[in-house]
Symmetry: D5
Subunit: 96 residues, 10 copies
Amino acid sequence: MLFHVRMDVAIPHDLDPDHRAAIVAEEKARALELQRSGVWPHLWRIVGEYSNISIFDVESGDELHALLSSLPLFPYLTCNVTPLATHPSDLKATDG
Amino acid sequence: MLFHVRMDVAIPHDLDPDHRAAIVAEEKARALELQRSGVWPHLWRIVGEYSNISIFDVESGDELHALLSSLPLFPYLTCNVTPLATHPSDLKATDG
Amino acid sequence: MLFHVRMDVAIPHDLDPDHRAAIVAEEKARALELQRSGVWPHLWRIVGEYSNISIFDVESGDELHALLSSLPLFPYLTCNVTPLATHPSDLKATDG
Amino acid sequence: MLFHVRMDVAIPHDLDPDHRAAIVAEEKARALELQRSGVWPHLWRIVGEYSNISIFDVESGDELHALLSSLPLFPYLTCNVTPLATHPSDLKATDG
Amino acid sequence: MLFHVRMDVAIPHDLDPDHRAAIVAEEKARALELQRSGVWPHLWRIVGEYSNISIFDVESGDELHALLSSLPLFPYLTCNVTPLATHPSDLKATDG
Amino acid sequence: MLFHVRMDVAIPHDLDPDHRAAIVAEEKARALELQRSGVWPHLWRIVGEYSNISIFDVESGDELHALLSSLPLFPYLTCNVTPLATHPSDLKATDG
Amino acid sequence: MLFHVRMDVAIPHDLDPDHRAAIVAEEKARALELQRSGVWPHLWRIVGEYSNISIFDVESGDELHALLSSLPLFPYLTCNVTPLATHPSDLKATDG
Amino acid sequence: MLFHVRMDVAIPHDLDPDHRAAIVAEEKARALELQRSGVWPHLWRIVGEYSNISIFDVESGDELHALLSSLPLFPYLTCNVTPLATHPSDLKATDG
Amino acid sequence: MLFHVRMDVAIPHDLDPDHRAAIVAEEKARALELQRSGVWPHLWRIVGEYSNISIFDVESGDELHALLSSLPLFPYLTCNVTPLATHPSDLKATDG
Amino acid sequence: MLFHVRMDVAIPHDLDPDHRAAIVAEEKARALELQRSGVWPHLWRIVGEYSNISIFDVESGDELHALLSSLPLFPYLTCNVTPLATHPSDLKATDG
């Protein structure tokens, strides 16, 4: 099933710059890995914010929580998860 | 460019039922038409709410406002529009 | 999977009293039916409010939306849905 | 009586890692102990957040406050407590 | 146990004036009755608002919900219930 | 006249523990002293929070501000003050 | 003592225009009367809003509530009352 | 001086359609008139909302309130006014 | 013209005490100076808060911003500025 | 297309003063450069706040995000971006 996730990143300003750079690089690698696996079909930047809007396609809340908490930036994320359903006017669902 | 739009529908309870049914049917037809044209690539229902989350792909704010205000339900919608940008970790953008 | 749902009921004060009584009775019957089927394991009243907190156990967001929108009071409900996961300190999950 | 409690955990990023690990382990032990005693019948993780939703079954506000403030993580918790009552459509209460 | 309740009253402006006057009178009678019984030890007006702050002394959430929903104005009330506990610096509790 | 005050305490986590213990002890002594003097007739803990709800009985806003700012914890308090009036249905005021 | 009051006026759009005009005229007369009596030393319009910010000088919360609820527009007002104290840097108070 | 004004329009759904059309036409005429006079240098639509963001250039709060309350739609507007000042990095002000 | 300003002061707890005392003394001196000059006709403490409500009488937004940012505590202030206009029921304006 | 951006600046109080001064100077230079290039046609200070309201004129969300994140103060900014469209009553758009 699909979940809409908004993630806001807030890395403390006094974090060691090398540590910060390392985490950000690991985050990117992990994000690409999850996208390749198919569980993270969409990932967009919100203009002007250190935030993203994502769509996840998973089997359960347990799977989604495991994925999100596996992100290297997770300790610095505020995640807002909204469950989605098929819309009755969705073209793909109505074979329109 | 892409815009994230959340639409919350609030049709007054005392609206004439036939009028209501007619508007809802017109809304569905218009939504399908816009999706077929390519400007409305994603449309999801928020679970438990008379609301949707949509992604629009348009040239400008003028085009998006024209599309949204052309929806038959527009007088009863609260729209929240968030501009999107390419995310640096987006697999499609990094040819990952 | 489990979802936490808060429902706030707001029936318009000028609704016909017989219609209101009929909907409320249908709501109760439907709620009992869904509880018997196992998809609605918990239902509590919030003290002092015409609101409830519920736990649903369903396969997907589509199933949950279908259940919620089948409630006779749905047009008068504000639903807030929060997806749940197993807690690492949950006694049942740790066979504690 | 039953209380619904939402707990949001915010451990300062600069807390000593050993101290942090110790507190988290003590918290888990205390949570299991309280669950075994019957006062904490439900404990769920909120997907994507370092937060839980819990149901407590206690005699009074004094007892609940004593339990919550006995949690090793209490100094880092934001607790939101909502008193619950039996719902008139609750299957268990209506011997349905 | 003690509960803090804030009640905001919002009677629709188009309610029949006689009906309104009757409900308000019944509300006062019921409020006095509950205060005499000892379950409603404090009742204050918030300056400038059609609202009150009350303290209730009851056995359980079920009892409090039964009391509040027995108020003639209940359909027009927004109630906010906060459970209270003994404060460690309360003079009465420390036999100070 | 009566004022309703909600106080939320937020002592910085990195405050010296001895200093913290000293301030908390002074706060308790001062709270008891004010209660004995009659200006602070009620003091309750909010369940699950490092917060209290208090009723003060003073002559003026100047007196109340002087009392609150004399509290040893004042630098760490967020105070929310609501002026109260006699409620027309208050049993004590209606010689009920 | 002084109180800061913000009043937001919301007269229902379907109120009879003559009734509306009469209430607004009575409100103005009552406001002038109270200002002349000295209890309402300041009254300002908030630019662009059907709202005002006022300072009242009264003996008690009871007196202020009596004044506010005597306003002909009171049923359509949202009042927000903030108690004031002398500021230590106030020129008038420091005979500066 | 400059003021930033956000206006949200909420015309009641049951307003007579002819009356509504007349007010909207008068509003447009008045808006053009004020723009021509120089007091309303900028007027933008917020995408997806029946709202605008405007810049006004007036002598005082009195003048701005008089202008805003002269708008035919004023009874249906929520106006939010923010006073502006010259920004130290403004190119026009630094003759950059 | 008149502006209503609410200022909330939040001096970091770890600021050097001498530096803090010096700034607070300079703030008081500057506040008295501005009051004597006539641009700051009213200054009140909000009961229980390290906040004030002020009325400023200035020519423009530029002048007000210059005054506020000249305050020694400005780096620690949250200012909320509301433009005021003459109220049609103001006694002083109606030569009542 | 046009975007409305509100930027709130929050530079940590413990940032090295020289570093701070350097960033602020670079910010000003970059702001002037972007204004000269035509993409940032308006920039205003909000009175009493370390905040600005800006209008940007860019081709896309990608371009706007690139511009905003190129600002030296970006790590300390909270940006709120609102897409704009031509208003039907805009004098410039109606050849008025």
